[in-house]
Subunit: 227 residues, 2 copies
DNA sequence: TGAAAGCAATGTTAATTAAGGTTAAAGGCG
DNA sequence: CGCCTTTAACCTTAATTAACATTGCTTTCA
C-alpha cells in the first residue's frame, strides 16, 4: 500500500509541483489549499504523515497541528515555511510538529525528511530473532554467548563472545589486531595487547574440536579466521 | 533516570557551553572531542540520543553515524554543522541521521529538536500501554507486580518488579549496572551494588522455569536479558 | 650468501585480583 | 508477626597480570 500524505499548501503553483513530484515517487498525496477542511479529510483518509504550510488562509499551520494532535497523537507532522526564526521553530515543535523545512527547499530534502519521519514513527523494534551462526561443526549464538558442538554447550564470557563475533563476522578475512583491541578494551596499550593473546588462546582451545577451524596469526596485522 | 546524550564536538568552547547548557536542563551529557572512541563509549553508556558534529578530526560525523547504526538501529542521531547544502543534508539522512541543525543554533532549538526526537523514538512503547508483557513462557504485569507461569502467580516486591521491568524493556540488549543502581537506589555505592546481586539472584530464581530466559552477566558493564 | 644471533610480536600457562553470586541471618516497618 | 530489604560471610568465575616459551623476520658477519 502506498504511503499517504496529507499536504496543505495554499500556493497553487508550488503545491502542484510538490504533489506531482511526490506522486512520482510513489506517494499518495491528498492536497488541501486551506485549513478549513483538514480535520475531516484527515479522519477520512487517515494519512501516514502530514505536510503543513504554516501561513495559510483562515487557519495557520500551528493551529491545524494542534487540532490534529488532539485527534491522533502519533502521526508525524512536517511544517513548511518561509519563516526562519528560532521562535517560529519552537512554536512549531510546541504545537506538535516533528520537523521544519524552509522554503525554498529541494524535493530531495523534503522526501528525505518524510522518509526519516516515517521510519522513526514506525520503529517497531527489537526482539530480533535469536540468530545462530554456524562455524564449522559449531553453532554460535552471539545473543546468549553460547558455543555448541554436538549438544555440548559452552558458555562464553562476554569478552570471549565479542571477540568470536568479530572474527566470525569477518571469516576468511583478516581482522586487525588494533580493531579488536579498540572494540574490546577501547585502547591498544601493551597490557591489553597481552590480554588479547590470552583470549585468542582460549578461543583456539574452545574451537579445537573442529580442526577445519583455524585462527591464523598474521604477525603485525591481526588474525585470519579460517573456517 | 536522566536522559543520556552522547555529544561529539571538537570545538572546546562551543562544546563546553552546550554541555553545560544541556546539563542545566537535567540531561546527562557525555562529551567526546573526536571520533576515535565513540563506539566504545556508546556501548558503555548506552545513550538515549546522539548529537554529532560533522566536521571532526579523524572520523567525520557521517562515518560515526553509520557505525552507530550498525550497532543500534534505533537511537536518534542529530547532526550539527555549519554546512548548509542540500547534498550534505541528504548525506546526513543517508548515513542514518534523523535531524540536522545548522550552526550557529540556539540552545532552545537544539533542546526542542532533542525532545522531539526522543518523543518520536519512544512512541511505540507509550502507545502499546500493554498491561502485560510476555517474557518467554511467563506473563509479567508490571502494574500489579505479578509474574505468571501456567496459572501460577508470583507476587514480586516493588524492587523486584522495577528491576524486571528495566531488563525486560531492554531485552536482548545490555542494561547498565549503573543505570539499574541509579534507578533502584539513586546511587551506585558499594553496598547497593552487593544488593543488586541479591536481586538478580532472586529474579534468576523466579525465571528458572523457562530455560530460554537468561540474565547474562557482562562483567564490569551490566546484564544482558536474553529471552 | 647464508647460518647464527638478535629481537619484536605473539603464544601458553598459571597466579592474582576484582567483580559478581549465593545463602542466610539481621534490620526495619506496617 | 510477616514481609521486604539490607548486611554479611563465604563462594565462584572472569579479567588481568606475570613469567616464561615460541615464532618468524631482520641483521650481521664469516
Amino acid at each position: 500500500m502506498k504511503t499517504k500524505i496529507l499536504y496543505v499548501e495554499d500556493e497553487p503553483f508550488l503545491g502542484r509541483i510538490v504533489k506531482e513530484s511526490l506522486e512520482s515517487r510513489d506517494f499518495e498525496v491528498n492536497m488541501l489549499t486551506d485549513g478549513n477542511d483538514v480535520l475531516q479529510q484527515f479522519e477520512k483518509i487517515n494519512p501516514d504523515i502530514c505536510v503543513l504550510d504554516i501561513m495559510l488562509p483562515v487557519k495557520d499551520g500551528y493551529t491545524i497541528a494542534r487540532e490534529l494532535r488532539k485527534v491522533k497523537a502519533t502521526v508525524p507532522i512536517i511544517f513548511v515555511t518561509a519563516k526562519v526564526q528560532t521562535e517560529d521553530l519552537l512554536k512549531g515543535f510546541e504545537s506538535g510538529g516533528n520537523d521544519y523545512i524552509r522554503k525554498p527547499f529541494s524535493m530531495e530534502e523534503l522526501i528525505a525528511r518524510i522518509n526519516n519521519l516515517l521510519q522513526l514513527s514506525q520503529r517497531p523494534k527489537s526482539i530480533s530473532a535469536a540468530e545462530v551462526t554456524v562455524i564449522g561443526k559449531y553453532e554460535f549464538n552471539p545473543q546468549r554467548y553460547e558455543l555448541k558442538i554436538e549438544d555440548k554447550v559452552k558458555k562464553l564470557s562476554s569478552r570471549e563472545a565479542t571477540l568470536l563475533t568479530m572474527l566470525s563476522e569477518n571469516r576468511n578475512a583478516t581482522t586487525n589486531r588494533k580493531d579488536i583491541l579498540m572494540k574490546l578494551w577501547g585502547d591498544d596499550s601493551f597490557f591489553n595487547s597481552r590480554n588479547l593473546d590470552v583470549y585468542i588462546t582460549k578461543l583456539r582451545d574452545y574451537l579445537k574440536d573442529d580442526p577445519s577451524i583455524e585462527i591464523i596469526t598474521i604477525k603485525g596485522v591481526g588474525y585470519h579466521f579460517a573456517v
